[in-house]
Amino acid sequence: MARMKFLCDAERCIECNGCVTACKQENDVPWGVNRRRVVTINDGVPGERSISVACMHCSDAPCMAVCPVDCFYRSEEGVVLHDKDLCIGCGYCFYACPFGAPQFPQAGAFGVRGKMDKCTFCAGGPEKDNSEAEFKKYGRNRLAEGKLPACAEMCSTKALLGGDGDTIAEIYRQRATTRGKGSEVWGWSTAYGRPEAPKSPAAPAAAPGGKS
């Protein structure tokens, strides 16, 4: 069964913001709402890495767990969506999400687009697929057209992968084995220790996860 996933290959991401504007363009996202952003660490120094972040469509989504009005649901393919008609804009999902995916339009509490807005994996929302209503509220439903999220399909260096999890894993595995490195950005240091960390356990370790 297809399980939708995003994976951003930090060895390839060049912070071109193609994913950001692809999402804006495809879903007509208003100014101030950032469904997808590129996060850069160590900007301007050796070790600079960028990664594109939007909703991760978690299997056990914190947003879904905390929503007081239960406006979230997960599709069979693992896409986390929500019903804006139910949303009360309380922001609790924003509080819970570790990725900052929930967005709130800046124009007033209940902006032009409704209340909480977030990445939908280009799967629209609980309106008729590809209808005017769905586009207005949630943006494009590319999955229903047999396509994949615009951000991943348009990534300039094919850093951002989005689609069936098995296929994506296969693609990334091929890259990682070909290049022989790169997987260390994904928590390698947490699991296996950093090569440049001090050998002696007594020495104070440099901030973990900060500079890589």
Binding site: S75, A144, I168
Partner: protein, 78 residues
């Protein structure tokens, strides 16, 4: 006399019964909250409408194939 008493008892027991019955139909004070049950509008799966028309396998195949567009190794090789 007895009838009057009986009437009072009847009324009283009727009222009692009403009160007790009212107790039977009373709501629990604490709502039994069931977490994470979606309360919103229903949604269709992505393969519901044309061109898939409910054919889930066809949709999954298409999606897997389309995912490979993000893999330049498919066209370049190594």
């Amino acid at each position: 006399m007895i009838s009057k008493l009986m009437r009072i008892v009847a009324v009283a027991s009727g009222a009692m019964a009403a009160l007790m019955l009212a107790g039977c139909g009373e709501r629990p004070q604490v709502i039994d909250y069931k977490q994470g049950k979606y309360q919103g509008k229903p949604d269709e799966p992505p393969y519901a409408a044309a061109p898939f028309n409910g054919n889930k396998d066809m949709w999954e195949r298409d999606i897997r194939n389309r995912t490979q567009n993000q893999n330049e190794y498919r066209r370049i090789g190594s």
